[in-house]
Symmetry: C2
Subunit: 154 residues, 2 copies
């Protein structure tokens, strides 16, 4: 199972400590530059207000299976959390699409480090993807509480 | 960028035509079997009601860049839609976690074909992932309308 980059992410986050905890906490405009051979796959993308963005966490540690969240001292499995470190570091963000400029998408809500390889983009569809009643013992319910969690250096 | 399978999906969908259009339309219980070496990454997963499940669409066509949705005769880019065919066929579902049985998760809401390689599992967090106000010109607003779209053989 070999991935091919469909593009590259240009972001102001140069190192791990620069990026916000989660994409939804990123206020900056981020550029998703699509390689010329994949531009046809963007047709009519401006009809989507939000996009699922998958990118490769090329600076992640693939050996870590448990870590502490910013919200507790208890170790939890990486499959039970949103740790960037995991066996396949496919990072997931829901991004606001601001506009398309030729082969670039200008988005908000992506926490990628500068230069991260872009893997996939999908239309976000509330009927499929929005589950407001979901509950979760590891991640707070509001963005405000998420932003206040403890900084970790894993 | 090389992926490693973290497990395998056992589902009643044996061929492309068997699977529902989208994971949220799948009523069946599906089993995510995690390989023994990754079981530690499941710690405390039962505190999550919903999971983001990423799997490899091993029967997808990676060359297709535009296709028709079930809802229109207009070609749209695969990055503007939820086509299973795309350059990196990383399929995405939000699953209901029903229960854990040792190294297996029993879930609902996954449309994977039987035997699909499992790539990643993440906690679903409404504060990050639920955007009910998102709009989309290609996919209807309700699951009921989505289920009524035209069957395609791509």
């Amino acid at each position: 199972m070999q991935l091919t980059p469909i593009g590259v992410i240009h972001s102001p986050y140069k190192e791990r400590g620069d990026a916000p905890r989660q994409g939804r906490l990123s206020e900056n405009e981020i550029t998703l530059e699509i390689l010329p051979e994949f531009v046809a796959a963007l047709k009519d993308i401006e009809r989507c207000s939000h996009l699922i963005v998958l990118y490769w966490g090329d600076r992640a540690n693939r050996e870590i299976l448990q870590s502490r969240t910013p919200f507790s001292e208890v170790l939890v499995g990486v499959f039970s959390s949103r740790s960037p470190n995991r066996p396949n570091p496919i990072a997931f963000c829901v991004a606001d699409l601001i506009r398309q400029e030729d082969n670039c998408l200008i988005v908000r809500g992506v926490d990628a480090l500068d230069g991260s390889p872009l893997l996939d983009i999908k239309a976000y569809a509330p009927a499929l993807d929005s589950i407001p009643e979901a509950t979760n013992g590891h991640i707070p319910k509001s963005l405000d509480e998420i932003s206040k969690g403890k900084k970790r250096n894993a």
